[in-house]
Assembly symmetry: C2
């Protein structure tokens, strides 16, 4: 069982279009706060706030060299989320299969009324 | 480009442990509000509120027969989310490959200091 809190933070991090835009940019390669704020009309403090949410969610990491903080994707950024979703889908598929199996026990309907 | 709003709602829906618990239960098959509220210490109004968030997020659907509302998984519940994540991963992998290619141009370091 995966702990709840990290998944809460991960899903929350991605529940905002501005933050998803930053992730789209960072998927291409590392970028500074200035570069990430640039294409939007976002101020630096606001951009940094969004980036902190992404970092808390385990989606991005940052490194400060001198006065410049550079952000990049966490290499296994989506792992926990993927695992959780994959487990749900597997369960759903098994449930659908069981249902299909159970339906075989009923006489076929021909769809006419 | 996928519209922002549905993805916002989808990620928000999954950013809560109680709601993820409901999704875990519904992956096994349809359930009523009472059945979904049962195992938690949640009241029915609170459970219904969470279920509405999941329904707005496109994760579950509901159907009311008489006085009983039954919830079930939306068959392609995670599709938009999966597509968005898959696109990011593809971009990340291409960026890593480009980086690995670029590294070849540099003389090897042997790791000793």
């Amino acid at each position: 069982m995966i702990e709840a809190a990290p998944l809460d933070r991960m899903f929350t991090a991605l529940a905002d279009a501005s933050r998803r835009g930053m992730v789209e940019r960072l998927s291409l390669g590392p970028a500074t706060v200035k570069q990430l704020a640039g294409p939007t009309n976002m101020g630096l403090p606001s951009a940094l706030k969004h980036l902190k949410v992404l970092e808390d969610g385990g989606i991005v990491v940052s490194r400060k060299v001198g006065r410049t903080r550079t952000f990049s994707m966490q290499p296994d950024a989506f792992r926990e989320m993927d695992e959780w979703v994959r487990a749900r889908k597997a369960t759903m598929n098994m449930a659908f299969d069981r249902l299909a199996e159970a339906m075989k026990a009923f006489p076929e309907e021909d769809g006419t009324s």
